[in-house]
Amino acid sequence: MIAVLPLILNVLHERYDIAIESVTPETTLESLDVDSLGLVELMFEVEDRIGVPAPKDFKTPVTVADLVTIVQSMLDAGQKA
């Protein structure tokens, strides 16, 4: 069982040098300076770490919690496969 939130926080820290203690599920990606290209990059990194591809079309996440939902669904899909 992979803990999704810590995984995302770790990627945010390692790629963007974001101080993760200040990040909550409600934090918006915009406030973290993660733009659309940054999101693609971030999803790419997550894919790499969990070994499951992102769905082709997902609703653009606004908050960290939205991101957790997407990654959790990727993990669930990966387990079914």
Binding site: E14, R15, Y16, D17, L37, V40, E41, F44
Partner: protein
């Protein structure tokens, strides 16, 4: 036609010797090589070659994790060299500077080579169907110049010259023309190269021009002009210089290292890899004419001197024809013997050595030069660093594969 004098008011470098250009020059004067056996524990096939690797460089520590992660290594070392040249010039504290007129001209042969290689590894070794979404913008040859402009807020022309081993000499020369013509009071110019990636190393090995060496001999593997020379040493490196309208520099009380007074170029137009002295002489003569300088004013030449059999001989032939009866009084050294061949960054790194030779009135040696080969005689080969010598003017040669030649002429500042 406006013709301004052009001052060099800032220098910065990241080389295998470290990131301080003055300490770098001191080490060269002492004849100290930073070339070591480069032996990464690489997958799938290890390599071991003498190389100039910037072992102490830490992109994340210098630039911050977020900036560094958005850059290929060639951009990282370029950005650090540029930042240090800019600070050195003192222009970072000049509030009145028209920064939208100031451009960055950069040189690189290969650009983001590690990004390219990482992408191919993902595709072919890890069998991934997709590669990093930032591969394109990390790998492109003009990425370093753009990062430098963003970091320093410079809004003028931003060009990258890719002319193999003459890339950054040409970037400097073209920037020089802009300042001399009065188009802008300041330009930042230089280049960066990080060729120590597996595919690139193998490509150079295949060309059979790399100097051999092991753990104990690597430091002395590169022997320009020597009877026993066996080729070049691949190296990483970056350098940057600030070029400034002379009056602008004087008015703000800037430290002037030297005057950049001439620039000349030519193409051999007959072979991709075999240099032709006739083409080199045309570039050398064009440089002296551009500088309005008689050959007899040149006291030192920082040679292209890569330590290949053909290259060194061709360069000496060109120089002895140019200097004619003065040849034996002209000091020459090839500092690649100590920092290796930094490819697209070679022009600027060696320009910095030339500039410091003028500023310090000191000449670094060609290391490892035991016996001058008969085809390389005729000039005053420097084998031990010399201090307290007279250096009025000096040339820095860059003769690239493809037959593109570029020469820069510098004068002592006062």
């Amino acid at each position: 036609m406006i013709r301004k004098r052009v001052a060099v008011t800032g220098i910065g470098a990241v080389t295998a010797h470290g990131d301080n250009p003055h300490h770098f020059f001191d080490a060269l004067l002492r004849g100290e090589s930073a070339i070591r056996l480069f032996k990464p524990e690489d997958v799938p096939h290890p390599v071991a070659i003498p190389a100039g690797y910037c072992a102490t460089f830490d992109g994340i520590a210098s630039l911050g994790r977020s900036r560094a992660n958005g850059m290929d290594r060639f951009s990282q070392i370029g950005a650090v060299a540029a930042q240090s040249a800019w600070q050195d010039s003192g222009l970072d504290r000049d509030e009145s500077l028209p920064k939208d007129d100031i451009g960055v001209f950069w040189g690189t042969g290969g650009g983001g080579l590690s990004t390219t290689e990482r992408s191919y590894r993902d595709l072919y070794l890890r069998d991934k169907a997709r590669i990093s979404p930032v591969s394109v913008i990390l790998g492109m040859n003009n990425a370093a110049a753009s990062h430098i402009a963003m970091g320093l807020g410079l809004g003028g022309a931003n060009f990258t010259y890719s002319v193999a081993c003459a890339s950054s000499a040409i970037a400097i020369g073209e920037a020089f023309r802009r300042v001399r013509a009065g188009e802008t009071p300041v330009m930042l110019a230089g280049g960066s190269e990080t060729p120590l990636v597996y595919g690139v190393i193998r490509a150079w090995e295949s060309l059979q021009v790399l100097a051999p060496g092991d753990e104990s001999t690597a430091a002395h593997a590169c022997r320009p002009f020597d009877q026993e020379r066996h080729g070049l040493v691949l190296s990483e490196g970056a350098g940057a210089i600030v070029l400034e309208d002379w009056e602008h520099a004087v008015n703000r009380g800037a430290r002037i290292y030297a005057e950049l007074s001439g620039y000349g170029t030519s193409c051999d137009h007959n072979h991709l890899s075999r240099p032709d002295p006739a083409g080199q002489i045309r570039a050398l003569a064009a440089t002296l004419a551009d500088a309005g300088m008689p050959a007899s004013e040149i006291d030192y030449v920082n040679a292209h001197g890569t330590a290949t059999r053909e290259g060194d001989a061709a360069e000496i032939t060109a120089l002895t024809q140019l200097f004619a009866e003065h040849s034996s009084q002209v000091a020459i050294s090839a500092t690649k013997s100590m920092h290796g061949h930094t490819m697209g960054a070679a022009g600027v790194i060696e320009a910095i050595v030339t500039i410091l030779a003028l500023e310090r009135q000191a000449i670094p040696p060609t290391a490892n030069l035991a016996t001058v080969a008969p085809e390389c005689t005729g000039l005053r080969h420097i084998r031990q660093g010399e201090t307290g010598v007279r250096v009025r003017a000096a040339l820095s040669n860059s003769f690239a594969f493809g037959g593109s030649n570029a020469v820069l002429a510098f004068r002592q500042s006062n």
